[in-house]
Symmetry: C2
Subunit: 255 residues, 2 copies
């Protein structure tokens, strides 16, 4: 085909199909080709769509492949979990385009559509821990030096942000989460709420509400996100007797 | 009725109905009563649903009213724009519950469901400016002192986060956005990308890509969100010749 196709970067949301937006569903149904990590593609692929699955660590190669397919006329959905704009494939696509101009990609329409990110699902289950200013940090030091992560965590703790941690732990990165939370603990009380959400939106989801003093990195795995409260974050008993965590919208004036 | 109803805090997403998740749509269709700011309720209400609309500034009263309705047996959807967990009604509901225990609320099931937040829609339109670590700050000093906002902005700038600003400007708060960006400019180059997204997802949406050196607070209004890039955030020309902004997933090692 000589007509350029399109490449749209979509997200499935964090697992529950009820979190897939109608816009993303429409893009997926219009696509001729789905590109992405096998688990995400399998979740959404139709019978007549070409699947191009790859390892989760080959983001740049995957982005270039998706652009090549679109340049050849395909309608390509590049599939992320969660929101493609938050620690996912959207940045990889723009990196690939910025990295090396390929004349054959000329004219391809590249679009990103927003989706629910995993941290929003964890926050909703927990109550409203991100109800005031917060920051979002990936603890993976595969692509950035640990020194910048450590600096960001320390300054965010000093700024009294609630903090959401993506990629908290893996077999190859066993100590980063514990180290980051020790750093936060230097600025916050031991009773500061911590939310540990694992596989939220899937049938085996678990949510644990604990605090900085009792937190252990062994409570997290590769499918976990961790939220650490600000100094103002509070526990509250819900009307049905269950427990939640929220960060009030107000902030006390300094005394 | 003596049986307690339920209260679910939902978000419509930032404007485009194609961003309303199936879960939120199901909650809205099952509700007998919709509570919220008039504009949000009007967007989603069915003909046979009771509407309880209020001014956008009366969050606590609205939360208590929604709890009272649920306690009386209603199935209540409390409607936010965007994600209810991010600068919206979820925190207000937990605040109301924490503030004063009302025995009549006992047994009401209170649930928060996640949704697409406005900043994700702005980021998607712009490219991928939130593709690496970022922070989210409301510039409204209605409920928190300006000193804490200023401290957070300064530390976030030092931490080299990309920054997303909610509630950047209003008639009552004309100078806060300009002051915040001046503070960021003390830490970042004048060519640092700035994204100005107004009414994204609506028919009159506008998106402006500029930089710290050229930014003017007059480019923003009450329906605007502003994203300021990190030092690593870059402009890129899309294959169709249009311009985007993204923050790479990698971060250079300190030299």
């Amino acid at each position: 085909m000589s007509t350029a196709g399109w490449l749209t970067v979509v997200g499935t949301g964090p697992g529950d199909p009820a979190w897939l937006t109608p816009e993303s569903a429409a893009v997926l149904s219009q696509a001729t080709d789905l590109v992405g990590y096998e688990r995400y593609v399998a979740r959404v692929a139709g019978a007549d769509q070409r699947r191009h699955v790859s390892d989760n660590r080959e983001e740049m190669a995957r982005a270039r492949h998706a652009l090549d397919l679109a340049a050849a006329g395909a309608r390509v959905a590049l599939v992320s979990g969660g929101d493609p704009g938050i620690f996912a494939m959207a940045a990889a696509v723009w990196e690939a385009i910025d990295d090396q101009t390929e004349p054959r990609w000329s004219g391809v329409a590249v679009t990103v559509v927003p989706a629910v990110s995993a941290i929003q699902a964890v926050a909703a289950r927990a109550g409203a821990p991100l109800g005031n200013d917060f920051c979002v940090i990936s603890l993976s030091d595969n692509l950035k030096p640990w020194s910048i992560i450590e600096k960001r965590v320390a300054l965010a703790a000093e700024a009294d942000f609630a903090m959401a941690f993506y990629n908290p732990i893996s077999r190859a990165r066993p100590w980063q989460l514990g180290t980051a939370l020790e750093q936060v603990a230097a600025h916050r009380e031991a009773h500061t709420p911590v939310v540990i959400g694992t596989a939220i939106g899937r049938s085996d989801e678990t949510l644990t509400l604990t605090d900085l003093g009792r937190f252990s990195a062994e409570q997290a795995d590769m499918r976990t996100l961790v939220i650490v409260g600000a100094s103002t974050t509070r526990r509250v008993q819900a009307p049905d007797g269950s427990e939640r965590v929220y960060t009030p919208r107000y902030y006390p004036a300094p005394t």
